[in-house]
């Protein structure tokens, strides 16, 4: 790798770490301000002595700054502390347990949105400004116009209760994954489709394609073989950004479908004021976001050297 590229990556990585640090401070501070976890955990019958005893046991009686540095010190070693809600389990352990479920769902959601977006984008580009274009746009944009939780519940109602084709909730085989995946994935369809469409339009217009047509290559071959291949580069980098919104979408969807992933974990943790778990999840989320942004930047820099020197 060239000198410029190395420097670029180094700078970007440092900036990413800084971003993660800022995240940790924000979440730590806000979580502490949000209230006392003991108020959630202790039964209503708890006495003042109970509060004191447990405060000491979990180190909640120390000054906030001390708590933060203790947290940071441990976090850098990968230890986010013990969950307050799920006693006996470390926060990272919990995240590790639940993350695969979310990744499964996100993966399927991404697959579904690509399966839908690619053809819709191509059709929209090829039939630009025709009825197909508008219809394609509407279908895609519909995904961005429906509140996720509403869509989830309606889908569940139609397919699981009225028709009985699919289970309503919980984790299992692919039949459990479809409805939540569609709920998350539909949102992405519009963005991916738009990208495919515009990339296709650019490529369709290019000299290379005109040449192929003049040569007499059949139209479908022109579209699928030549255009799509070249048009795929831009959407590929977009997928990394999409990963972030997939995680966010998972928070709501997992609640509706009782999918035991990291989104459901963090909602429960916030409600339970389970600081260690909230911090762990947010860091992981942010870490994934940041990693994706980093990869995107590096990929763009690789493709377009000018960016490296900005």
């Amino acid at each position: 790798m060239q000198q410029g590229m190395q420097h670029f990556i180094a700078v970007r990585v440092l900036q990413s770490l800084l971003a993660a640090l800022v995240m940790s401070v924000i979440v730590f501070g806000l979580a502490r301000v949000s209230g006392n976890p003991l108020d959630v955990m202790l039964p209503i019958e708890a006495t003042a002595e109970d509060y004191e005893r447990l405060s000491k046991h979990w180190g909640l009686d120390k000054p906030v700054l001390t708590q933060y540095f203790l947290f940071l010190g441990n976090a850098l070693q990968g230890d986010f502390g013990q969950s307050l809600k799920y006693q006996g389990t470390s926060a990272m352990e919990l995240v590790g347990q639940r993350l695969p479920a979310t990744l499964e769902l996100a993966g399927l959601a991404l697959l579904i949105s690509v399966i839908l977006a690619l053809p819709i984008g191509v059709i929209a580009a090829v039939g630009k400004d025709s009825g197909w274009d508008v219809a394609a746009k509407v279908i895609a944009l519909l995904g961005q116009s429906l509140p996720g939780f509403w869509l989830g519940i309606v889908l569940m109602w139609i397919f699981a209760v009225m028709l009985g084709w699919l289970p309503t909730s919980g984790r299992g085989g692919i039949e459990h994954m479809i409805l939540p995946a569609i709920t998350i994935g539909w949102f992405q369809v519009a963005a991916i489709m738009r990208l495919v469409r515009s990339s296709m339009l650019d490529v369709l217009d290019s000299e290379y394609v005109k040449l192929a047509r003049v040569k007499g290559i059949p139209e479908w071959k022109v579209i699928w073989k030549h255009c799509l291949r070249n048009a795929s580069i831009a959407p590929l980098t977009f997928f990394a950004i999409v990963a972030g919104s997939l995680l966010t979408g998972s928070v709501v969807t997992e609640t509706v479908f009782s999918w035991p992933g990291i989104g459901l974990l963090v909602i429960d943790a916030i409600q339970a004021r389970d600081f260690p778990v909230v911090q762990a999840v947010v860091i992981v989320f942010a870490g994934i976001f940041i990693l994706c942004n980093l990869l995107v930047d590096i990929l763009y820099a690789y493709l377009d050297p000018r960016i490296r020197y900005q």
């Binding site: 900036q15 990413s16 800084l18 971003a19 995240m23 924000i26 979440v27 806000l30 979580a31 301000v33 949000s34 209230g35 090829v126 039939g127 630009k128 400004d129 025709s130 009825g131 508008v134 509407v138 944009l141 519909l142 961005q144 116009s145 429906l146 509140p147 996720g148 939780f149 509403w150 519940i153 309606v154 109602w157 209760v161 519009a190 738009r194 990208l195 515009s198 339009l201 369709l204 217009d205 394609v209 005109k210 047509r213 972030g244 995680l247 966010t248 928070v251 709501v252 609640t255 963090v266 916030i270 409600q271 909230v278 999840v281 947010v282 989320f285 942010a286 976001f289 940041i290 942004n293």
Partner: protein
Amino acid sequence: MADITTRDLLSETSPRHATGWRALRRYPLFPLAILVFFLVIPAVFAPLVAPFDPYAGSLSARLIPPFWQDGGTSEHLLGTDKLGRDMLSRVIYGARVSITVSLIAIFVGGIIGTVLGLISGYFGGRTDSVVMRLVDISLSLPTILLALVLSAALGPSFMTVLIVISVLLWARYARLVRGETLAIKELDFIARARVAGASHVRIMLVYILPNLVNSLVVLATLQVGYVILLESTLSFLGAGLPRAEPAWGLMVADGRELIVTAWWVSMFPGIAIMLTVLSLNLLGDWLRDHFDPKLKNI
């Protein structure tokens, strides 16, 4: 150069569709009509158009179905909610709340973003790096989580929603404005103005900013729909507007237990959100295609 592009050729080969769609191409009539009907008129004329006070309810009038169902009445066309409040009035007033929240949030986020973007792009150097790092950090914050934690700390309120949405939006404006400023500041007329002694502030406000307006408007239009959705999601998660407000998002969240039994409580505000956001998205798309194709990848 008369450039007959492949695109034009393609559209010419479908004569049956040409006339109707060509007219649509010129003005996004359909989305505009929907918007006016569902968003603008209700929002502006709510007190005149709504048949009831959206806050007034009575337990005896609880969960009345829409008028075309068994048990419905023509007094409450779209039925009533859990507290006997008229759905139609709440949906109408909801337009007002949705527009207010989104406009304010976009305005605040937009101003912050534009100012920072201008400064960043214009002055470059250290300032630019710092601002861009802030943008990166801001874009990597998982907003929903931030909203939840913030709301747990401050309680659900208009302020919470405003802060969360502004934090989310400003970075995109900053990035856009910075990019365009970088391009514009290299142009001749800027240099001439510098030579003529114009101050930095004057140049930014009078010379650069007006050229950004197109892009800003397109971006804003695209964002309104997103903001309305975000507000409804935050309400679902309990981190949105305070309970009493007739906000569409809150209404859908409120009726979520009843989605099976008293489906109208969630359905109508849900449909309102869908139509409004869809139209805004279509409108924004059209604006972008016709005024600023550079924004393709946002």
